[in-house]
């Protein structure tokens, strides 16, 4: 596609339920990032996939959070047993190979606004 696509754009869920957020990166982009942005806060890094390497999960806030990337393309972020503090905008970004640092070529999706009630 022309850009990074995220779905759903909005999700309201009850506390304790599981949710799945999807990110479809730009075709050919090898790096994929998930960030979280809580109200009034900056972007908090969650997880990073680069090609076929093991993902960098150092930003995941708890073991309720997990992500996978199938076939080096689409990624799914799963939050189990959601809590109210999980309410935030979840942003995905991808970047192509060929930069001196993969972060330089970031293109962001429009995000998923998650509200846990």
């Amino acid at each position: 596609g022309a850009g990074v696509s995220q779905s759903p754009s909005n999700k309201v869920t009850e506390k304790g339920k599981d949710v799945e957020l999807r990110c479809d990166p730009i075709s050919g982009h090898t790096a994929l990032y998930w960030y979280r942005q809580s109200l009034g806060q900056g972007l908090e890094f969650l997880i990073y996939f680069q090609g076929n390497s093991a993902p960098d999960k150092s930003g995941l806030p708890s073991d309720r959070f997990s992500a996978e990337r199938t076939g080096g393309s689409v990624s799914t972020l799963t939050i189990q047993r959601t809590q109210q503090e999980d309410s935030a905008v979840y942003l995905c970004a991808s970047s192509p190979p060929g930069y001196s640092h993969p972060a330089y070529g970031y293109t962001f999706g429009s995000g998923t606004r998650l509200t846990v009630v």
Binding site: G42, G59, S110, G111
Partner: protein
């Protein structure tokens, strides 16, 4: 720990004013500093700065880096209501780890 601090956190100005947004950073192995504009959800890239003292300019927006004092400023002249957004500053830390972002400056331009 790599860190980015932006100030002010929010700012309200009138159309036509000039604003200066600040970003200070601490990073072990500096390579660059990036500015993004976030209007609704998706941040969009504005500038990447790598060298001290060289101004990057795009229309009414400009930015400069001071690697000695570890900060950057983003200037917007003759502000318009369309400039209302959150402006984010970010640095890539060591290795291939993802960008570290500041909390952003929320700019509101009123007519």
């Amino acid at each position: 720990e790599d860190k980015v601090v932006q100030s002010p956190l929010s700012l309200v100005v009138h159309e036509g004013d000039t604003v200066t947004l600040n970003c200070s950073y601490e990073v072990t192995n500096f390579r660059s500093l990036l500015w993004y504009k976030q209007e609704k959800k998706a941040p969009t890239f504005l500038f990447m700065l790598t060298s001290s003292g060289i101004e990057k300019k795009s229309g009414r927006l400009s930015s400069i880096l001071d690697k000695k004092e570890l900060f950057s400023i983003l200037n917007i002249t003759a502000t318009q209501t369309g400039d209302s957004a959150v402006y984010l500053c970010a640095v890539p830390p060591s290795g291939n780890t993802p960008l570290v972002f500041g909390k952003g400056t929320r700019l509101s331009v009123i007519a």
